[in-house]
Every structure is written in structure tokens, then in C-alpha cells.
Subunit: 513 residues, 2 copies
Amino acid sequence: MNGAESLVKTFLAGGVDVCFANPGTSEMHFVAALDTHPDMRCVLSLFEGGVTGAADGYHRMSGRPAATLLHLAPGFGNGYANVHNARKGHSAMINVVGEHADYHLKYDAPLKGDIEGVTRGVSHWLRTSADALSVAQDGAEAIRAARARNGQIATLVLPANTAWEEAEAPATPLPPVRLHRPRPDQIAAAAKALRAPGAALFVGGLALHGELARVAGRIAAQTGCRLMADLFVPRIERGEGAVAIECLHYPVLENVEILRDVRHMVLLGAGEPVAFFAYPDKPSTPTPADCRILDLCGPDMDIAWTLEALVEATGASGAAPATLPLDLPDLPTGPIDAVKVGQVMAALMPEGAIVANEAITSGHPLAKATRTARRHDWLTNPGGAIGAALPLAVGAAVACPDRRVIAPTGDGSAMYTLQSLWTMARERLDVLVIVFANRGYQILRGELANVGVNSVGRNAERMFNVEDPTLDWVALAAGHGVEAARVTDAEGFAEAFRRGVGEPGPYLIEVVL
Amino acid sequence: MNGAESLVKTFLAGGVDVCFANPGTSEMHFVAALDTHPDMRCVLSLFEGGVTGAADGYHRMSGRPAATLLHLAPGFGNGYANVHNARKGHSAMINVVGEHADYHLKYDAPLKGDIEGVTRGVSHWLRTSADALSVAQDGAEAIRAARARNGQIATLVLPANTAWEEAEAPATPLPPVRLHRPRPDQIAAAAKALRAPGAALFVGGLALHGELARVAGRIAAQTGCRLMADLFVPRIERGEGAVAIECLHYPVLENVEILRDVRHMVLLGAGEPVAFFAYPDKPSTPTPADCRILDLCGPDMDIAWTLEALVEATGASGAAPATLPLDLPDLPTGPIDAVKVGQVMAALMPEGAIVANEAITSGHPLAKATRTARRHDWLTNPGGAIGAALPLAVGAAVACPDRRVIAPTGDGSAMYTLQSLWTMARERLDVLVIVFANRGYQILRGELANVGVNSVGRNAERMFNVEDPTLDWVALAAGHGVEAARVTDAEGFAEAFRRGVGEPGPYLIEVVL
């Protein structure tokens, strides 16, 4: 077998059996190796941002790393933004980046570039394979690195000749890296802090969904503390029966208000809350100056163990977490707006839906309206680089073929990675994309004011609006092979939404705001 | 004035008056400063690959650097591939990348990333402004760096507070950096080599068009050497009256054949010819082993001076360069193919057209057919990262509003930066996009065979073809506000081509192959 085959076999042995790909010439032997291993599911994207964002969504919903296949430094560059987002969300991902054959690197071929340079800043683990014999072991180490610390970015650079030259055997999976845990005195201090007045347990990662969210909810119920989380989390469970977790907002001054009475904050699986951006005369962090922050368990530490230790320390094992009720709104009527979109979603979202949300200025009413809908998972963008929603939806749908994926997104954001629509059609993924056509980077109008500029002139206006021409999302969807509808009223949106979550395959709704 | 205003004024004073932009919150003060300086032309792209590729095209056709405005590390990442291409083509470009306010960087905000890491490998010059007082001088140095060595990538990272804090004054333009020149003995050696049997003058950069190409042609006419160039050059003049320059092909074995009899190769404004990729059992360079390569003047050296010195050393000042004749084909009929597309283009391209060519598998027949058309400039992709043609066309059209821009591109390539269609519509650019809808990455089928793999199985096939669903380029164009037509025969293509180069504004033709 050659190096590429040894790597594919190593991946499969290590439980990595999905590969999101946009290959080029330097990856041809890897492609050939995939050919002889049909148990590896290959999903093509027509742009690399769709590749890396899909791997992120896949990990968030499956808990398992996918491989990506990228072509040289520019190919990684195209995927960089969604690797950044995945990194901020602690997703596991194994990037395989094809490089020129090592003996060709002394020449200045057109595609020669600094692969390690462009990958290093967003990779927790980075290695260039030295020869074909090393590829399998490098692959096994990449898997271990990706799985370490609750999810990391591992990048393996594969010179073409290491793929085509002779190798020996695949590598056996390596034992996982053990997670760090807090010390007993830190657990005791946290348990004490959570019982004090003005206490908040600020959770992230695995504590936001499933059984561990319930454990966090028991601690909050027992100690009387608030259970809180950031706004931009990789995955949070919401809707009927989900543990009630209070999420922060986007504007830093609103968060200052929300956190005004917090005196003790225990961080568990999350970092300290931070303003998305700095603004003149506004604080970088929303927490009160006299709040004591106890950094108990970082996002890369043993969240499950820490939660159980806290349950024991607080005597919370018998407590019942506060959960969200089912409270469905009536279907709205009349001209559409973001609030009504949220109401329709809340009323009609099926049990078990996955929402990949990148509606920026429309996001808050959506989140508010759907909080007490049927049980669902809610994915946001912890890295803030727009263009995440469509690729995330692809990855989530590949991970969970039995669940409906809904991707509400601003039009500006969706344009960054619209090529993912094609992948949804190709793979017949059950994804409903909702594009909020406000026809501009509305968020920037607010941000201009936030940084103290109060007038918008011609040059600025021409950089904020996406009118002239108007994007036609029904046509853009059709161009990618996806059916679509344009709606302007709530009744039309409800009808299109029913179609979108009722029929197999992808569908897109352009909501004209 | 604040730092952002001092920078905009510095740019304008330094002759930088076009800004291709995709800004975010961290660049809001720069946007506000642009607002008060309407003499800076701002061109919005909906994706950063469109920003950087446009700056590249703008420089190729104007000889002047444009500024780009990009948002943090992921924004630069999205633009990385076309910065790579610009760098390989020796284009000048000034990237302004907004960063968080410096005091905010100690927190792990969602968009905090390693900007210097992602930019360093593709930037010749890189600086993060220390404070508002430094911004203007940093800007002046960025302009000088971008203009140095025939064109470089200069990247200026602007922490948000350096933009909004108080500055003093714009900086005055700095004197240009002097170009290196060959020594007299090298000129003499080159002059001698060019007179020997089997000599070739291998030119690049400014020697490929305009007066300097004529100078190169005189040297070739006088010495009897071949005048040659790479296939992937940033800009070459072709058609009636243009100097006849022999270009290499894509397949390395064809180039081995083309260069078989070359015994002396003088490099002038170009590097040594290199295979695009390495393949098992094929050479990395096409030049014969016994060919003596004289590296006279690198692409970053004084090409004009060197050419004049060679004219003098060879006594070529009175020689007449061999030029291309006007030889227009008849209009073809019947089912369309790449050869017929080339014939129609050759027959109907207006004088002064600019062709931004990224037709990959269809590129060779196109280049062949149009070589003796009316005079035109031909732009290719010296960096090989696909997704260049549409952005290049935008930049070329902004630089040359009185000329027609034609962008033939593969469908696979066009998908990477299709958002540039919107910018063409927004700016009413006279661009005709020709999409070769072969519905797949055809080049990769050949490349798989090139690396020694002769069967294509299901996983490979699913990564090569872009059928199921078929991309509908007429719909994709309409979605971006661009009119379009789909053609399947030569008559229909000729009619659509006439429409495309005859009416103002952008137009797209989908050629179904």
C-alpha cells in the first residue's frame, strides 16, 4: 500500500469515516485511496469554506472529528475562516492538506506557498509528514490531537510523494489524552461560591446539552445560583424539557445590565464573558468590577468530571433542574418581520430540529421566540467569522440524517459560503435555509454608531447596503439546484416553512424584510 | 483628525485612490474616514476573495496599487488565495486589516486571531500599527513597500483604537526604492549567449506588454534567439501588431519538447520554468539538462534598464521585432466546443479587449485561436489558486473603464468567487463572463492519470463531477443581478458574445460543453 492508503485505513480504524473535501492535484493519491475505501463517506464542497464549516457542524452534532481534504496553502486559506470558528467552538477536526512533492519544493511553482504559515495560527497540532512510512503514524497522532482537550484542530500536511510512495501498514488508534481536572480545593471553593448571594454558574461546551446540562441544572437548583452561558456557543439544547440556561446578549451594555448583580461567577467549560468588540468608552468585559471570577474548569478540561464533583460537593444529586416549558405561540399574520419568523419557527419546528443560527440583526427575536418551542439543538458561531451557517448545516445534516436542520442566516453572511447550497442538493440533506434579506450589512450600521460615528455618507452607505442590485435568493438557490420561495408575509412564510421541514431534501426561503 | 483619517489622506497623497473593501466592525472608523474623502473610490465585494483578486487585476492593468480593506484574521483568510495569486504575479497591493483595539486583545473575543500569522507568509511587508500617531507613516511605508521590486504585497494591521484615536497629520509620500540591476559582465554574457545557437530569451513582467515587449522583440530579432515566456503570466499583449512571444504549455512533457533544442536560456523578469506540479517519473523542470540558464534579471529587478542595456550590448536598437499578424477566423457553426469558442472570440473581440483567462481544460484552444485576433491584453493566473478570473475582471474593469473585459473561466473555478458577479453589476462594469460548463473539475481527471492512477471509482467520481445537481449559471448570474444566456451551439454563442461586448454592463454566457 502507498502512504495515502495507509492514512485512509488509519482514519477508518480510528473512527474517522467522513471526509469533507475539495481536492486538487496534490491530493490525487488520497482521492484514489478513498476510492478503494467506500466506507469513508466523501462529501464534496465547491468551496473550502464549505468543507471546514461542515466538519465543524459534523463534530458539534456527532462528537466525532471528520477529516477535511484541502489543496495547498490557498485551499487552506479559503477554509481558514471556518477553521477559526471551529477552533473557537472547540470542535475536533483533522485537516489533510496536500503539499507539493518534497523534491519539487525547491522550485517556485505557482502553487508553492507557506502551508505551515497559514495553518499554524489556527491549528492546535500541525505536522508535515516526512515520508510515506510516517504518514500512518502521523494520521493516528492527528486523530488523538483532534480528540484531545474536548476538541482541537489537527492539521496534517501531506507532500504528494509521501502519498504515492510505498508505506507499510496503517497505524493502530492511540489511547486518548487524559483531560485535566480541577483540584479538590477548587471544587470546594466553587461549591461555596455558588451558594453565596449573587452567584452564577457560567457553563459551556458539553454542559450545554444532554445529560451534562441536566447535571449543571441540578447544581443550580440546589445552590440557588443562576445558570448562565455565552450567547455564541457551539451547541445548546433548548425547548420543551431542556434545562433553563440564561444566555447573554450581543450588546455589551445589555450584558453589563444582565450581570449587574453577579458577585461570584464560577466558570465551567467556558471562558470569562467578553465583549465581541471593543468600543470607545465601553468596557471590554461585562462582568461587574467587584465580581469574583473563579476559573474552575476551562473549555479544554474535564467538564463531566467537574460537574459530578460539584454535584457531590453541593449535595445536588437529588435536585431537579429547572427546565423550559412548551409554550408555542399562535401563528402570526400580516407583513413579515424577524419576530414573526421566530413565532412561525417556534410554532412549527419539529421535535429534534437542529438550528444553525447566523441571523445577525434578526437573531435575537428568533432566539427569544423559539426558546420554549419543541426540543431542539441551537448552534451559533463562537468564532464570529460570518459564513458559518450553511456549512454548519451541511455537517449537522450529515451527522444526524434523521433530524431536520434549519439554518436562519443574514443575506450578507450567507453570501460568504453560498456554494454549500449545492452540497445540500448533491447529498439530499434535509436542510431548510432561511435567508433574512435585509439587503445589507445591517449590523454595521449599528456598529458605526457603536464606535461613535453618527452619520453615514456615500462611501459608507455603499459598503453597508447590498441593494443595487438586489440579490435574488430564489435564483441563487435554483442555480445551486435547491428549490426556494420568496415570502413577504407571515402566512406565506408559514406555508413555505411547512414545505421546508415537511419534504425531503434542501429548501430555501428568502424572507424579504 | 484621527488615525483612520490620517491614513486615508496619506493614501490619497501617495496616489492610492481605489479601495476594494469588505469591512467589518473593526474597520468602522476607516469607513467613516472614507466617507469624508469621496475622491477615494470604494468598491464593495461580498466576499474577500473578490476584494484581493480585484486589487490584483487593478494593478496589472493600471500599474498602481489599490488598497484593500479586510476584517481581522478570518477576513484575510478569505482573501488569502487571491493574495497568493497576486504575489506570484508580482502585483502591488496594500492590505489594510482591521484588528481589535489593542487593549481588547488580552481577552479571547470570538474574532481574536493570529492576524500576523495568517498574513506573514503571503506578505512581503507586514506591520501592525503601534498607535494612532504612527498610522500615517506606516501607511506611507506600506505604499513604498507595495511599489518596490516591481510590485509587492504590503499588509498593514490596524488595531481599532489606532484608527479612532487622535493623530497629527498625513505622511508625505516616500521616495521609491531603487531597483537592483545586473552587473555589466552579466549583460555582456547574456548578449553573447543570446547570439549562440539554441538561445532563448525568457521574459516576464513588464517585458510582456507595451514598449518593453517591443524592446525585447528587437533583441530577439537582432540576435536570432527565441523570445519565450511562461504560460501563466500576469499580463501579456497579444493580437495584431503585438510582439510575437512563444508561450509554454501546461503539461510538463509538452514543455520538455518545446524546449528540447534550447542550449542557452537568459531569464529576464522571469524565474526558471517549472512544472506546475510534480508527478511520479516526470521532471520538475522542462529545460534540457545541458541548457545553460543565465539568471540575468529577476522579476523584482530593473527590467526596463536591463532590456535597454541588452539592446545596446547586442546592437539591436534598429531591429524590427517580429509581430503577430491579424488573422481572424471565420465564424464557426454547429455544436459548441472550446475551439469554436476561441474562434468566435478571435473573430469578434474588440480592439483593446482585456481577457482574464481562467478556462483550465478549455484554456489552450482559446489561447491558440485568439493569438492573432485584434490587439488585446491577456491575463492569466500565475499563482494557480483557482477563483481568480472574476475578481481579476472586476479590477481590470475598474482600472480601464474604456476597455472591454472578457473573463473565460471553468465552472469549477468560477464557483470559488462567484460573488464578484454582484460587484460587476453594482459598479456597472463592462465585463463579459464566459463560463465553460463542463460540469466538473475536468483537470483533475487528467491529473489523476498524471500521477499514475488510471481508474476512477465512486468516491473519486463524486469529487470530480459537478453534476447532480447541475449548476445553472443563468440563474446564478440572475441571482447576482447579472443578465445571462445559455448556449449550446456556435451561432448562439456568437450572438450572445456580440451582446456581451456590445452593451454596457456585465453579461454572462454559460457555454454548455
